[in-house]
Assembly symmetry: C2
Homo-oligomer: 351 residues x 2
């Protein structure tokens, strides 16, 4: 079933069939209808391979994921899919499966550059995708890793200053302030924080938000009460143990962990010390991981709108392709995050 068959069946030339399929030229109504009828009757679908060869456009977007198992990835792809469904684009997925090799080596990304370049080169020259969406597994800057692609690239969940690149990330600082405020509003005054890896952007932004909120409330952040974690559950546990070793009087009444994993580690430590969350110590996280609804008590946290990141990235990439739309020239978009209030912060009137 090719365009020739349709043409013959409809008694027109292949050119005419092409014109009606692509709506690229005026065709007499009756002929157009004849063609449409034949197409409907036969279920003909144009061969996109042939079309691509001719037009040099594949209508496929390469989605290069650092790791599909990383917590943001699947939701981001879900968002991309949702947007793509209303377009004619499709997704060629490459999963770099970086987790094993990169586990918690937050900035060893450079050592992965070869693998990334190779994948990019394949998408670019081999598969001839029209554009690529790079889906990061950490919120960090990957400037310099995307090279040699003269097509639209949007990076989701990470940032990049590279030529042609556009980043879609999420709000960190203001929402952290909001979360801290929520705790402050509950009456907490001795507030501890368990940070993520201190040199990373999200750790810094979140800290900034927290500090701003605390200062604005006329409180101060006791440096003995900020412990450096590494984003993993075990470090949340370790940091909380240190906090617990403080004299009883100086124990924090609330701890702000910079992600859910560390918050849960902290909760483990608190439970281990025979203290209760939130009655004795309140704790909050960040990310709204699936588990935060399953731990007891349910974790108060902030939700990153991953689906919107994917959706927006897809939107941006297609708009860059068409050259029109609000994101066509955009270099950076930030998706708002939102508070998820659950059961881990208690009201405090004492201390």
């Amino acid at each position: 079933m090719t365009i020739k068959d349709i043409a013959r069946e409809a008694g027109v030339s292949t050119a005419t069939v092409s014109y009606v399929i692509n709506d690229s030229k005026n065709v007499m109504p009756e002929k157009r209808q004849r063609v449409l009828d034949v197409i409907a009757k036969t279920g003909y679908q144009p061969n996109r391979v042939a079309k691509s060869l001719r037009t040099k456009k594949t209508s496929i977007i390469g989605v290069l994921a650092e790791d599909i198992l990383a917590f943001p990835t699947a939701r981001i792809i879900n968002g991309i899919s949702e947007y793509m469904e209303q377009t004619d684009y499709h997704i060629l997925l490459s999963d770099l499966r970086m987790m094993d090799s990169l586990f918690n080596r937050y900035d060893q990304i450079v050592h992965q550059k070869d693998k990334i370049s190779e994948a990019l080169s394949f998408l670019n020259f081999g598969a001839k995708v029209d554009a690529v969406i790079y889906v990061g597994m950490f919120d960090r800057d990957i400037s310099g890793v995307i090279t040699g692609v003269n097509k639209p690239i949007v990076v989701a969940y990470s940032t990049s200053g590279d030529e042609h690149a556009c980043s879609v990330t999420y709000e960190n600082e203001a929402i952290s302030a909001q979360l801290a405020n929520h705790v402050i509003d509950a009456g907490h005054k001795r507030i501890a924080v368990i940070t993520g890896l201190a040199h990373t952007a999200p750790a810094q932004m979140r800290l900034k938000g927290i500090q701003a909120a605390i200062q604005e409330a006329g409180l101060s952040l006791d440096s003995a009460l900020v412990k450096n974690g590494d984003w993993e559950r075990a470090s949340g546990y370790a940091c909380m143990m240190e906090l617990l070793e403080q004299e009883r009087g100086v124990l924090p009444t609330a701890v702000l962990a910079m992600n859910d994993l560390m918050a849960i580690g902290a909760m483990d430590a608190i439970r281990g010390a025979n203290l209760r969350v939130p009655e004795d110590i309140s704790v909050v996280g960040f990310d709204n991981r699936e588990v935060s609804d399953f731990v007891f008590p349910k974790l108060t946290t902030v939700e990153i709108d991953l689906k919107a990141i994917g959706f927006t990235a897809a939107q941006a990439v297609t708009q860059k392709l068409s050259g029109a739309g609000e994101y066509a020239e955009e270099r950076s978009v930030i998706i708002p995050s939102k508070l998820i209030l659950r059961d881990t912060v208690a009201q405090r009137s004492d201390t």
Copy 2:
């Protein structure tokens, strides 16, 4: 940069270049080397679109996922990717995003047939993929939903008796027996079970395994102690509440929930009744969901080797394509599951 450029540069014909690239004909060593050199120097990559048009093979596998957010999907795709990496195949991903519309309507799949057919038809006729891997979100039979594809299809995590189809699923019954035995070996005699939707295959297979183990141990399954859940957390909670309303003397000492979500719901109910897991009541789940390591205490469960399902599905599909290999003619493969022993079953000597 096309094959012509390479041919000119190397002083040979395009045919010769093609021969060396595809290793499809003998070429004089020195010429071959000249060609290889030029390719290396220029970084030339054959245009796969043109190649596909000519050969009618795209080297791309359509991965049709019912929902990428469903619990098995991402891991299965991870397994597929891992296998694909060592091949020349790539993945065109279609996400049906069925979760919203299908949520817990375990067998309403038929109403989705149009969407599936459409996606399949696109992959088949439009994108011209060489084969497809259908990634289900439930363990159920989907015979009849895959139609009109005369290419290799392997369905992962679901089963299908359809023409050309091959299923890759996981072991249910024997592992359920093993899990029940683990509980029995710990000394439990009054064992309750919270089933999944009773008419579903996995619920039936798991029950069969459990019954076998109990009988073999010379115990019997008290029908008052089996409650029908629906796989969701809330139903686990509700079933456990019913169980808890039994007279104290007849309270089960262990409950076998047919998945982690219901097990966690049951744990919620037990905690709500001021009883402890596992000291008062032991509980086990199934699936080894990420959360099962985060709840307290950590849940004993069974792990479905999702990555192996994906890996094997990919392997099977490529072998069907080449016509050679252990899975080339296979219609059904079952991946072993394994016990994950954690903290929710306690030793019992009483009762």
